[in-house]
Amino acid sequence: MDSESRIPTRMGDGELVHMTRSEIRADLEAGTEAAARRAKVPPLTEDELDHLLDIYGSPARFTGVDIGTEVVLSYDGSGMKTIASRRQDLQIYEQWFGADTIELHHVDYSFKPVKAIVPFEAQEMHDVLLRVVAPVQYGAQPNLGLYSRPDGPVPNWAELLPLGQIAEARAAQEEAVPMAVKDMVYVCEAMHEAGADGVDFDTSAAAGDADFLATLLAVEEVRRRCPEMGIEVGMSGEFVLGMHGEVEYDGVRLAGLWPREQMKLAVRAGASIFGPVVNVKAGKSCAWNIARACTIVKPCARDATIPIHVNVGMGVGGVCMTKYPPVDAVSRASRACVDILKVDGL
């Protein structure tokens, strides 16, 4: 008969389950081993697994880091025009939520659509900056896919690939990259002139390696034109998908890169903050997922020369894939990332 008490904990899909301490420990070990095999990185140490067990073996609704070890909380997608206007929502994030940085953005959260309304967005940025103390960055997604048909002018490589038209698919992506770079640089420069403290290239590499290339090239050019600007590169997945397969940045092939190698290229391009992502497996426990996430990100955080802000949220960084991530899951994952990875922010 099972004599261990059962502890409330979450699955990756948000379901509240009850597991014994032994079961949670087994999941932590399985998660780190799976990550080590997949990403070819060292597994977490026994001490680190013990600490994660302390966090995930607690029945508390909420947990937090030790006093004095707090990190910076940067927000993508804040000021959503949820309660009031965008500028008022950003003030709410600063005053009521204690956000360390806030992000102005447009609901159509990609650089391509924002390009067409840059003066309006820059005006909003100008006005927001007069009303807040916290640093304000402008956020959008590179979203290379928007440059393919029907949304854009180039052939749709996602349709060409299943047809076996590899060369045509590659050519289409190569054609889209400079278009995306031009738009991203245009928007970022406008925000800089409006007074923005930084920009956030959110979900970089969402459309694969060519998307990541466009991001890095844009970062490079923005850094050249705006030397003092904060540039955050936030990823979309744990490794870069080889939708093209052969694009390179500075002699490094982008397909298949994991967070540590992603970060190194972001640094080379001129980023000031890097946000790694590890996707959640919904069928596994949050304990399994956080062990996996910490294992994959650990080399990145250890070797980084710029701040690392791990993406911890809906479906990433060990947090459940639910519309309203429960605070028990979010606080555990956040604390785990801070305690184990010694990250600079979330």
Partner: protein, 100 residues
């Protein structure tokens, strides 16, 4: 410090703490930081019950932040450029000559 200087957190905390005259752990103590922010004019949380009408807020506070921390704040630079330019032009028009 992270955004403009790419400092990792321990270095950033040490830098800011030194500038503010506190220890790094003090930076996340709201009791201490409330006093520091009042003294240095960095802006604070205001509510109906807790108002600071004579204290710097928003862009005003950022001028003080730039000065004390020694980091460039883009919005402050832009504010200076925009207002100095307008003020000079206005003075020129009023005096009918060199505003300086």
């Amino acid at each position: 410090m992270q955004m403009t200087r790419g400092m990792r957190l321990p270095e950033a905390k040490a830098h800011v703490a030194e500038k503010l005259g506190v220890s790094p752990p003090d930076l996340s103590d709201p009791v201490i930081m409330n006093e520091v922010r009042e003294t240095l004019g960095f802006g604070r949380i205001t509510t109906f019950e807790i108002s600071h009408p004579t204290q710097p807020v928003a862009i005003e506070a950022k001028f003080n932040i730039e000065e004390v921390l020694g980091v460039p704040v883009n919005s402050v630079r832009r504010f200076e450029a925009r207002t100095r330019g307008c003020a000079q032009q206005n003075r020129r028009e009023r005096t009918g000559g060199d505003a300086t």
